[in-house]
Amino acid sequence: MFRVTRRYEFAASHRLHSTQLSDDENRRLYGKCNNPYGHGHNYVIEVSARGPLDASTGRAVDTAALDRLVAAGVLAPFQHRNLNEEVATFAQVVPTSENLAAEICRRLKHDWRSAFPGEWPKLEKIRIAETPRNIFEIEADEIE
């Protein structure tokens, strides 16, 4: 079994603010991240897929197919965007990196079969670094 990981980057802005909390509670909980004007990050995401070797290509994952999938499903909609205002999910859901990781995972799972119609490879996990110091990881099995 081989696990192949590809690393991608995008830059986006967000604001952490929960509609279920008061303004005071939001300020206390999220601090600077609650700034009404928003702020941004250079996000780094690692997408890992696992599978056996394809005998003809000597590869477990067609990285060009993975690149196209990630470019269309994640990079194009998120690159240089305001996540709260321009990505529909985050109109309701707070765009923490936990929720962002789950959203990326959901998008990739949804389109996975169109990029990889066979039994293998399978999406294994998503790792997202909001900054070099804050890193979040989600297993594909955690998402429906």
Partner: protein, 137 residues
């Protein structure tokens, strides 16, 4: 406990399957199918799993691990054209997956505690290999 040592080497390769047409190779491997070859600065992370020896406090003496990695990996691979100079890549396509598997076969006889090898072809592409374990759902 896991201990990991990192080594680097630079090498060139071509990824193409001689049984396929030029167009098919181009479609499958893109720029990597260029018959003249191209190169990478590969980074290898070798992880061993074990309990520290009660006397030395070490899973394995890192000096010994360094010597094994230099002898088995860096020596044969560094500054080589893999397809022409490093068997089995005269007949096996030197994809990241096939290279990491070859490294496993080279290291396993010398490192009973071998747990995983991570091979970076570039900072944006790496493969983890744990030996011949079957794929589970």
């Amino acid at each position: 406990m896991l201990i990991t040592r990192k080594v680097e080497f630079s090498a060139s390769h071509v990824c193409r399957n001689p049984a396929l047409s030029d167009e098919e190779n181009q479609r499958l491997f893109g720029l990597a199918a260029n018959p003249k070859g191209h190169g990478h600065n590969y980074v290898v992370e070798v992880s061993l799993q074990g309990d520290p020896d009660p006397v030395t406090g070490m899973v394995l003496d890192l000096k010994e691990l360094k010597e094994i990695l230099n002898r088995e990996i860096v020596g044969p691979y560094d500054h080589r054209f893999l397809n022409y100079e490093v068997p089995p890549f005269d007949r096996v396509i030197p994809t990241t997956e096939n290279i990491v598997r070859d490294m496993w076969q080279r290291l396993e006889p010398h490192l009973p505690a071998l747990h995983a090898i991570r091979l970076y072809e570039t900072p944006d592409l790496f493969v983890d290999y744990f030996g011949e374990v079957p794929c589970s759902a």
